[in-house]
């Protein structure tokens, strides 16, 4: 359940909300459609869950549509996703055909709303083929890439690029994630919702209930990595780092992640993690249902240090969430984690399990740094990475795109 805009005033101040309402007035009645491939699980669904109602509250006629797909479709789109992030994957011609067919089946259902929309945001590659099918579209179509496609596996990008270039514009989270394209490429980092179940303040009793539920020892440091079971998140590397620290410090580790309906690889990765954990009672491998937001929130608040040791990452919203809880983050030196984690300032960037172990040990020996970095991290998130900034950039993008303005300064 998302909050109304007024509920954010205590966090961001009235001027920020006034700014959004002024922008919203300029777009009143604009028909906006977001399309992605999952209603729950993963960062995209979480963003759309708050963004759509807030757009409506600001006067836009916004909706969120989810395409349906079978298991084969999601295997193919997961391969496309991995290929865009650089993995060498084989997608046969009939795999692309499955992708097109599923998009075509969904198009039959979504056709009226897509044809009439003033602006359509297609999130990630799964529904991207809808553009080619919607030949009678009236509005502008924007492709929103939530992942890092700076070094895609060439055969995958070769197939997808013509599709992407058909859009009126694209959005990337960071300049470092973009590909040269023939249309405008806007840069909009994602954000978190500070009032969502995953990020809102919790009563101490709620936090302690989660500690008790998972048998976590309050007297010992806790390392927490929250992410789906995906090889690029390197959960096995996190277990390796934990083992290096465990020799000298009595730490506990929580690896917690949900499965997303568009991620069929998760089961295999989870099995690898369980094997690496080898029934160590201080390693808690949790497979959480998609609605476990409060549990995730509590685990992040219970953490002494948040880990996000990815080897490939989009923006890395779990890092932002951890920072919002006032925790230092030890993150992989990749993707958006590099933007968020500044060495000795908000945490540490690492490249190996050894590097992660070294920095965990450093922080455990410098407890004052944990508090200082955590406070700094929370302040930066408040100023720059809450949903109010994110929605402002989307509204700005819509104004610029719909008015087809070319100038550097546009008065509306």
């Amino acid at each position: 359940m998302s909050s109304s805009l007024g509920a954010y005033e205590g966090i961001v101040g009235p001027a920020v909300l006034r700014q959004l309402r002024q922008l919203g007035e300029k777009l009143a009645g604009t028909r906006v459609v977001h399309v992605n491939s999952t209603r729950e699980g993963g960062g995209v669904a979480e963003i759309l869950e708050w963004m759509t109602p807030i757009m409506r509250e600001l006067g836009l006629n916004a909706s969120w549509e989810v395409i349906d797909g079978n298991a084969r479709f999601f295997e193919i789109t997961k391969a496309i996703h991995n290929g865009l992030q650089g993995a060498s994957v084989a997608i046969p011609v009939k795999g692309w055909k499955t992708w097109e067919d599923v998009n075509a089946r969904n198009f039959r259902r979504l056709r009226p709303i897509l044809e009439e929309a003033d602006i359509v945001f297609i999130h990630d590659p799964q529904p991207a083929h809808l553009l080619s099918l919607c030949t009678r579209r009236k509005g502008k179509w924007i492709w929103r890439a939530h992942i890092d496609i700076s070094h895609p596996f060439h055969p995958v990008w070769k197939s997808l690029r013509p599709v992407v270039e058909g859009f009126d514009a694209s959005i990337f989270s960071m300049a470092e994630f973009a590909q040269p394209l023939r249309h405008p490429q806007f840069l909009v980092p994602p954000s978190i919702d500070p009032l969502s179940e995953k990020n809102r303040d919790l009563d101490p009793a709620e936090v302690e209930a989660v500690r008790a539920e998972y048998g976590l020892d309050p007297s010992r440091p806790l390392l927490v990595q929250i992410s789906r079971y995906d090889r690029f998140k390197d959960p096995v590397g996190v277990v390796a780092a934990y083992r290096m620290v465990r020799k000298v410090a009595p730490v506990q580790l929580v690896l917690a992640g949900g499965g997303a309906t568009d991620d069929p690889e998760g089961k295999a990765v989870l099995e690898d993690v369980l094997e690496a954990a080898d029934k160590d009672p201080d390693i808690h491998v949790l497979l959480l249902p998609p609605d476990s937001h409060k549990t995730v929130n509590a685990l992040q608040r219970l953490a002494t240090i948040i880990l996000q040791k990815s080897t490939k990452e989009g923006f890395g919203l779990t890092v932002t969430e951890g920072m919002w809880k006032g925790k230092p983050v030890i993150g992989g030196d990749v993707g958006g984690i590099r933007l968020q984690v500044v060495n000795h300032h908000t945490g540490f960037l690492v490249n190996t399990p050894e590097g992660a172990a070294h920095r965990i040990r450093y922080l455990l020996h410098h407890r004052d740094s944990i508090d200082r970095m955590g406070t700094t991290a929370r302040d930066f998130v408040r100023e720059n990475f809450l949903l109010t900034r994110h929605i402002r950039e989307y509204l700005t993008l819509m104004l610029v795109t719909l008015r087809n303005t070319q100038g550097n300064v546009v008065e509306v």
Partner: protein
């Protein structure tokens, strides 16, 4: 006296279309040919962009030189360039190139960033709109600025210097236009006392409120 109409602005960044620079020579080549909007973005609009860091320098070229080329000498020389000191972006570009050429001539080896740490050239569109606030007397500036967004502060105090009358912030321009037998002079002097370029927008907002509030208290 015509009321001062407060405006707000929102920045939308995009890729410039220039290839990224991986070393100092490529940085020089790209800056020599980039659009003025690109130059303006990396010198002036960075302050409106979200960040997780408080960099030592206020322009992206200096920050990149320090963090990714590891060239602190170059970072210091670029970091002190104040874009609002230059009558035009062409002159700012010339001064920047002069610094880069000087540094290139001093180096036996061209400094490189590692792959992944390239300099990405961006630009932005600034959308300007009414904030729905009017100020009718100079004594109302402090309270109004306290309640503005940083977007308004940027638009009226920094971006304004690009517009007519060139080099003047909007508050000062309004005070000059509505000169009241010299009564606005203390406000104009107070605003002129701020070393604005090296502040973050949040700090600049605080500084503006402070100097204008101090002025009201001394009355």
């Amino acid at each position: 006296m015509t009321p001062f109409e407060v405006k707000d602005c929102a920045l939308l960044a995009r890729m410039s279309g220039l290839p990224p620079a991986l070393n100092l020579r490529e940085l020089r080549e790209r800056i020599a040919v980039c659009g003025e909007n690109v130059l303006f973005h990396h010198f002036c609009e960075t302050t409106l962009r979200g960040t997780f860091d408080n960099p030592d320098y206020r322009n992206d070229f200096a920050v990149w030189s320090k963090l990714y080329l590891g060239d602190r000498v170059l970072a210091e020389r670029l970091g002190i360039l104040d874009p609002y000191d230059f009558p035009s972006l062409a002159e700012l570009r010339a001064a920047t190139l002069e610094v880069l050429d000087e540094r290139l001539s001093e180096q036996a080896m061209i400094p490189w960033a590692r792959p992944g740490d390239e300099f990405f050239f961006r630009e932005a569109t600034t959308v300007v709109f009414s904030a729905g606030i009017r100020i009718s007397h100079p004594s109302g500036f402090a309270a109004a600025i306290r309640n503005m967004t940083v977007g308004s502060v940027y638009y009226h105090f920094l971006e304004a210097r690009r517009r007519h009358p060139f080099g003047k912030d909007d508050f000062t321009a309004w005070l000059l236009e509505n000169e009241n037998g010299g009564k606005n002079r203390p406000y104009i002097d107070a605003l002129a006392s701020i070393d604005f370029y090296f502040h973050t927008l949040a700090d600049l907002q605080k500084e503006l409120v402070k100097v204008l509030s101090d002025l009201e208290e001394t009355k």
